[in-house]
């Protein structure tokens, strides 16, 4: 009997031939990601549980991103707690202002194909982009992993998504994942793995795959999985070993469901307020007045996203009285965008470029809105009140669409 990607990763982790969906197993953790919002709670629980040592301090990565730069007086307490814990337990990987956790976990060379990773943030699903099994957990479970190096998981069933063909101009991987979430519903993949394949996926950059893996959680998925290929190897700066090369869904693997799409059928879409699965074609929303545009986040703050936006904005100006905020996902991306002139293009068009971090996406600062305002954003959630009040409307879109909206001052199609 064949296996899906996630089944193969879990089986390999356990040192067994195969695992079956529904089985409850205890995995050995390859990496954990701890973020700044949760760190005081993690530390408390860790001590409360009676642990004194982290099982492997070199496997924990502590990242400050939600609270950088500090927007409230108490925010820096989180840095101090994190620094003290890192010192106490000898953690060697600490990032204090280098960007968003989910960007750094692969970009900075931690997560590799086949790894089992947990993070205290729901978008930990992102690392599926390189063929890792990764998912979000709470701070109590994180504390338990830090002490034991293990966690129980239920082997998920897998939904296979096949996309064949070539995407039309003006359509980005964000449009695919939004459409998929719309088709599945916000709970359509709850407890399941989303496995992506097909020629359109093979053609995609790692960045594009990241955007999709990142948003798998918005359909409720436990994780996402992409087969590691040459692009993955180059991105991770490794040679794929036999196990990693074999991380593809077998022809006779058990899938709970198989969804097949033609890439040519995708169009630019938006998730409308205030549910991620309320998907509509941008075409149908054209002309809706907007107040602000946000391009950034662990979903769509990478170089290719900024480049796509810059291409739309080049030589143009952000519409009067509309604010465009651009937040690169990491220090590395910022520097690359600086070097290739993308930041200059964006600023000349009128963008406000902020320091890499979670920014507006996490709703604590970075362009919070008020009653009656409308924002088009490239991040992953448009929940009620997430970027302002319950009367603030959030539309989620691709970077190209977002840039086009900024220029028009209303919802617009990039290639029109």
């Amino acid at each position: 009997m064949g296996q899906t990607i996630i089944e193969k990763i879990i089986a390999h982790n356990l040192g067994v031939q195969s695992v079956k969906p529904g089985e409850i197993v205890t995995v050995n953790v390859d990496w954990v990601m701890l973020d700044d919002i949760m760190i005081p709670f993690i530390v408390d629980k860790f001590h409360e549980m009676g642990f004194t040592k982290v099982w492997d301090p070199d496997k924990a990565v502590l990242i400050y991103d939600h609270l950088v730069p500090a927007s409230q007086q108490d925010d820096t307490r989180h840095y101090r707690t994190g620094d003290a814990f890192a010192k106490e337990c000898g953690l060697t990987h600490v990032h204090r202002s280098d960007g968003i956790c989910h960007q750094l976990m692969t970009e900075a060379g931690y997560v590799k194909p086949g790894d089992v990773v947990f993070g205290t943030d729901s978008h930990t699903t992102t690392y599926g982009c390189v063929g890792a099994f990764s998912t979000g957990i709470g701070y109590t479970e994180m504390a338990a992993i830090l002490g034991t190096g293990t966690l129980w998981v239920k082997v998920p069933e897998t939904i296979k998504v096949v996309i064949e063909g070539t995407l039309p101009e003006g359509v980005m991987s964000k449009d695919i994942i939004l459409r998929l979430i719309g088709d599945l519903g916000a709970d359509g993949a709850t407890y399941r793995a989303l496995e992506f394949s097909g020629s359109a996926i093979e053609q995609m950059s790692i960045s594009s795959r990241m955007a999709m893996a990142n948003m798998a959680i918005e359909a409720g998925a436990k994780c996402a999985a992409f087969t590691p290929d040459e692009k993955t190897a180059e991105y991770c700066e490794i040679e794929l070993d036999e196990f990693q090369k074999g991380l593809k869904g077998d022809a006779d693997a058990r899938y709970m469901k198989i969804l097949v799409y033609k890439a040519e059928d995708f169009v630019p879409v938006m998730a409308c307020p205030s549910q991620v699965d309320k998907i509509r074609p941008v075409e149908e929303l054209k002309g809706t007045r907007i107040d602000q545009v946000f391009i950034g986040s662990c979903t769509n703050g990478r170089l290719e996203d900024l480049q796509a936006a810059a291409k739309v904005l080049e030589g143009k100006k952000v519409a009067p009285f509309v604010k465009l905020i651009v937040n690169p996902a990491s220090r590395k991306i910022y520097r690359e965008a600086l070097a290739c002139g993308v930041l200059k293009t964006l600023i000349e068009a009128g963008a406000i470029v902020t320091h890499p971090g979670c920014g507006l996406c996490c709703g604590r600062t970075g362009g919070i809105l008020c009653d009656g305002q409308r924002v088009v954003a490239t991040n992953n959630r448009n929940f009620l009140g997430r970027m302002g009040t319950a009367k603030t409307e959030i539309y989620l879109a691709s970077p190209m669409t977002a840039a086009a909206c900024a220029v028009a001052g209303e919802i617009a199609v990039a290639v029109d």
């Binding site: 820096t76 009285f321 520097r335 600062t365 302002g388 603030t392």
Partner: protein, 419 residues
């Protein structure tokens, strides 16, 4: 009886031949600036308190969103929306996220000879171009906006005769902090600081802005330089013409005169919690810091970014320090990118932010926590100004701030270079 530059500007604005310190005159304002710190309050008064609300001359008004950019709460967003909607309705020039208000005003509006009200205390910056800029509350600003006029009590002028030239490694900020330390935080209360003497010829418009900007910290109503060829060249390069170029008359009356030899100025630091608690930088060296801030309307221009970048180049900021670099405007930001300064900062581990008031105003970008220590090129070090009431702020030059960021404790650039 002769007049000082400030008196001449007021006389022109009042349409009279002669004014003297102590006179009260009704003046026609040349320009008014209001930022997101208070504009929403002005708009509320406009809408709720006036019988016949109207804007006298929208062309004289400038609204600038700079204090909380990008917005940190629905409350801030609502205040800024009120401002944005008002600007749109009345066709008032509106800037958002483009830089700190005084920098925007200097880059795009201020002309020698103008009388300018700004709803921000550091409006005194505009004296660098020979304009009379002064900070007012929102009631005064509202009156000015509705009538185009206001009243002024003609202030006395205090002469600051500058001689010589600043030594290498010493900056206008050291000079101004030294002056404030000497005359005290109320040393020139309600007076005008007029800078003159040979020494001013060694100071660029940027340098003069540093001096004028901090004059309010000595209690001044404003500070002013004569619009000389250096000022006029700056103006010309930006395609603007002076309104009027005034010099003080030889027989003008001064309340007091001071002389400062620039060559004698040394790097200094203002200690918490007072701008006039100025000591030689050596005295505070070694104090551990949590954050360093290079930016603000006082010290966030290209000159200071160059100084800072030269010091951090090739070095790494230690993990426990947050080094915030905040260009004063998008223009400065783009220039700094062009010169490779932003890359230098980013490579060192600094946090480079969008132009805004940032921690100088103690709001949403880089506030400091309980018991933390900040060394800053900002304007003020009042208790709690940058965050938690128990936090401490030291003020120093861009060089001292950058060197301190690299060292992780207060440090002079010279010491860093020799260590």
């Amino acid at each position: 009886m002769g007049m000082t530059i400030a008196e001449k500007i007021i006389a022109r604005a009042a349409g009279v031949e002669q004014v003297r310190a102590g006179d009260i005159h009704t003046v026609t304002l040349d320009r008014m600036m209001s930022n997101d710190g208070t504009t929403h309050l002005t708009v509320d008064m406009y809408n709720n308190k006036l019988k016949h609300p109207h804007v006298a001359d929208a062309g004289k008004m400038v609204f600038i969103v700079d204090h909380n950019v990008p917005s940190d709460s629905p409350k801030t967003a609502a205040a800024q929306k009120k401002m944005r909607d008002f600007a749109r309705e009345h066709q008032i020039d509106f800037w958002e996220g483009k830089g700190v208000c005084h920098q925007i005003m200097m880059e795009h509006y201020v002309c020698p000879g103008e009388l300018i009200f700004g709803a921000d205390s550091h409006t005194c910056t505009y004296g660098a171009l020979g304009a009379f800029g002064t900070g007012v509350g929102c009631t005064d600003l509202l009156y000015g906006m509705v009538t185009g006029t206001s009243w002024v009590l003609v202030p006395e002028t205090v002469k600051f005769n500058l001689t010589g030239r600043l030594q290498k490694g010493v900056y206008p900020r050291d000079l101004m902090l030294t002056i404030i330390g000497k005359i005290g935080a109320n040393g020139v209360n309600y007076q005008v600081m007029e800078f003159c003497g040979d020494g001013v010829k060694t100071l660029s418009v940027n340098d003069r802005m540093v001096l004028c900007n901090l004059s309010v910290e000595a209690g001044a109503k404003t500070a002013i330089f004569e619009a000389d060829e250096i000022a006029l060249e700056y103006l010309k390069s930006r395609g603007r013409e002076p309104k009027a170029v005034f010099s003080s008359d030889p027989d003008a009356a001064y309340a007091k005169e001071y002389t400062f030899d620039l060559a004698e100025i040394r790097p200094v630091v203002a200690k918490p919690d007072f701008v006039d608690a100025v000591v030689p930088a050596e005295e505070v060296c070694g104090i551990r810091i949590d954050e360093a801030f290079l930016g603000s309307c006082n010290n966030g221009r290209i000159d200071e970014l160059r100084v800072g970048a030269a010091i951090v180049k090739g070095k790494k900021i230690p993990g426990h320090v947050r080094f915030l670099v905040v260009p004063a405007s998008q223009e400065v930001y783009l220039q700094a990118m062009e010169e490779g300064l932003i890359e230098t900062f980013m490579e060192s581990g600094a946090i480079v932010m969008n132009p805004n008031c940032s921690v100088c105003w103690g709001s949403c970008q880089g506030v400091i926590g309980e018991g933390e220590v900040l060394i800053s090129t900002g304007t003020r070090n009042f208790k709690g100004r940058a965050g938690h009431p128990s936090s401490k702020v030291y003020l120093g030059s861009a060089a001292t701030v950058a060197a301190s960021a690299v060292r992780g404790e207060i440090c002079m650039a010279d010491c860093l270079a020799t260590s």
